[in-house]
């Protein structure tokens, strides 16, 4: 019985690995990798492709896991490839520094999809003296059922991003949203199809995949110096119908200056400091927080990593504690950050190996009244073990008298 079960597990995992390989995307063409400066094709725009990558969001995880899952029940046996031979042992450290060569964001790869703007595309034309950081993609009016949730420009500042969310409280934020981004550089939109709006602007669009809760579709527009990305998710969106939903939204989009956006925006390069790690060491961590319309934007940084983004929902009147970030490096140095209600006097964090650190939530943003009544915390510690493991385990929020107000796990 157990032998049969073991055999089944092995078969399932082998089929899962097999499915990943069958469904893995094609690598880039070799010529796309060649460095600029030669007379070969220039490289892809790293920043641009990352934007598109980020744009593909949920589909990344869902397609990966979906591919893994779909083959478990049985393979059609059509795999044209067979598992490779065992790899030789490593005799040279396979380390590659995480920071790569600087790539000129203005250069564009030759194989990019490069639709042209129609001459009469006034709806999305941009005044030449408008800075990219002041270009926002916005609909003439929010689509029915959507409201603007946040708007921010990145810290580079090479992009602007805004997201519209469902106004229906019964629909979750990952089931219905409209994401609009403008980024400097070029994009690579493989597997997309051209579509020209009634206003004469040519977009590329593609199906983004579906989860149990929603389907998503994507559209891209390449201009000479920048590109726009649009992602739409709806609970009942399907591959067969998404263009019907997407087309009127694309047709309504226009580029506007920040003053015409109708809402204040957050500059992620200039966000107030809410909390710092208790030490003043060089690798100390900082948690920054800002409010954007209906959501919080958080920027964290420490010697071993960092992150930034908007969309957090945290109400100190209703919520007790929230883990917003966790990151670690190869040396087992772990940073965890989050927010807490004023009633929380101490946040205790548990790590692999049984170690615990205690942090006192604080608010250093005296000059930011919109942050009053909300505290932040960020702590860094060294954890024995490998970054291969889950180093941060969970924690507790304690009141001043030691009462446990809430417990939490990894974010």
């Amino acid at each position: 019985m157990n032998d049969q079960l073991t055999h089944d597990i092995d078969d399932a995992l082998r089929a899962a690995a097999d499915g990943i390989h069958r469904r893995a995307p094609e690598p880039r063409a070799w010529d796309d990798l060649l460095p600029r400066g030669s007379f070969e094709q220039p490289p892809r725009n790293v920043d641009a492709s990352r934007r598109v990558l980020a744009f593909a969001a949920a589909a990344i995880v869902l397609v990966a896991l979906g591919g893994l899952v779909a083959v478990v029940g049985g393979s059609d046996g059509s795999d044209p490839r067979t598992p490779g031979a065992p790899l030789p042992p490593v005799t040279t450290a396979g380390e590659v520094e995480p920071t790569g060569p600087e790539i000129d964001a203005d250069r564009r790869p030759l194989d990019i999809v490069r639709p042209t703007l129609a001459a009469d595309a006034d709806a999305i034309a941009v005044a030449p003296d408008v800075e990219l950081s002041d270009r926002w993609l916005a609909p003439n009016a929010p689509p029915e059922g959507f409201t603007l949730d946040y708007a921010f420009r990145s810290d580079d500042p090479s992009s602007t991003s805004s997201r519209y969310l469902s106004t229906d409280p019964s629909i979750t934020h990952d089931e219905q949203f409209l994401l609009l981004e403008i980024s400097r550089g070029s994009l690579s939109a493989e597997d997309s199809t051209a579509f020209t709006t009634d206003s004469g602007v040519e977009w590329q669009h593609r199906w983004g995949g579906s989860s149990n809760a929603a389907g998503s579709a994507e559209a891209f527009l390449q201009a000479p110096e920048w590109f726009a990305t649009v992602r739409l998710a709806l609970p009942d969106l399907t591959e067969a119908t998404y263009l019907d939903e997407l087309a009127p939204i694309l047709d309504s989009l226009r580029l506007v200056a920040e003053s015409d956006l109708g809402h204040p925006v957050v500059d992620l390069g200039d966000v107030p400091v809410l909390a710092r790690t208790p030490d003043d060491a060089e690798r100390s961590g900082v948690l920054r927080l800002a409010r954007s319309i209906n959501a919080w934007c958080v920027v964290t940084g420490a010697g071993n990593g960092g992150g930034m983004g908007c969309g957090l929902r945290f109400d100190p009147a209703l919520d007790v504690v929230e883990v917003t970030d966790q990151f670690w490096d190869d040396d087992g140095r772990v940073t965890v950050a989050g927010l807490a209600a004023p009633a929380v006097a101490t946040v205790e964090l548990d790590f692999a190996g049984g170690s615990t650190i205690a942090l006192r939530p604080e608010n250093r943003a005296d000059d930011a009244p919109e942050l009053a009544g909300i505290n932040g915390w960020i702590g860094t510690t060294q954890v024995p073990g490998s970054a291969f493991d889950d180093l941060f385990v969970g924690g507790r929020a304690l009141a001043a008298d030691g009462t446990v107000l809430a417990t939490f796990g990894q974010s």
Binding site: I9, D10, A17, I20, H21, P25, P27, W30, D32, P35, V46, R50, L53, A54, A56, A58, V61, L62, V63, A64, A70, V72, G73, D76, P83, G84, P86, L87, P88, P89, V90, T91, T92, G94, E95, V96, P98, G100, P101, H173, D174, F177, G209, S211, A213, G306, G307, M308, G309, C310, G311, L312, R313, D325, F327, S386, A387, F388, D390, S411
Partner: protein, 160 residues
């Protein structure tokens, strides 16, 4: 072996390996980034004794270094803060296949960590031993065995 030869020979397997950890589109970027850095530093490539193992380990490191912030950004901007992407069936998969997928197994596999999926790829696709996979991943063999055991127990629970 030139770097171009290595790319043409192993890039598909490297992308598939990275896909197990980070998804298909990030996987393509990760592999491309590794080779672009090696193109910028040819001396490093010339010093490599075991190119295939070196590339797998480099891709693994690349995904680990860049996966964290990327994951956070995606979660915040696209799926809603704190929301975890749910595991769904591949919309392009054959419907008959999808319908026979055991839901518990679906959840079990989806709950595996990227590292556990990397171990599965190395052990079940490349037929590596735990010791060999550990060398590729730069961890102790015991760590690989532990991760593999966790993965198998999750699947075992789903199949039982």
């Amino acid at each position: 072996m030139t770097l171009e030869d290595a790319y043409r020979r192993w890039s598909h397997d490297l992308v598939a390996f990275a896909t197990t950890m980070t998804g298909p589109e990030a996987a393509v970027d990760a592999v491309a980034d590794v080779f672009q850095r090696l193109l910028a530093d040819p001396d490093r490539w010339d010093a490599v004794d075991e190119p295939r193992a070196y590339l797998f380990r480099s891709v693994h490191n690349q995904v680990r270094h860049h996966g964290r912030s990327g994951t956070r950004r995606l979660a915040r901007e696209h799926a809603g803060w704190g929301a975890r992407p749910s595991v769904g069936t591949d919309p392009t998969a054959d419907a008959a296949v999808a319908t026979v997928v055991d839901r518990d197994l679906d959840v079990a596999l989806g709950a595996l960590s990227p590292q556990q999926r990397a171990v599965i790829d190395l052990v079940y696709w490349h037929d590596l031993t735990a010791d060999q996979a550990a060398e590729i991943l730069g961890v102790r063999p015991g760590t690989v065995r532990r991760q593999l055991d966790r993965a198998r127990r999750r699947v075992r629970g789903a199949l039982a």
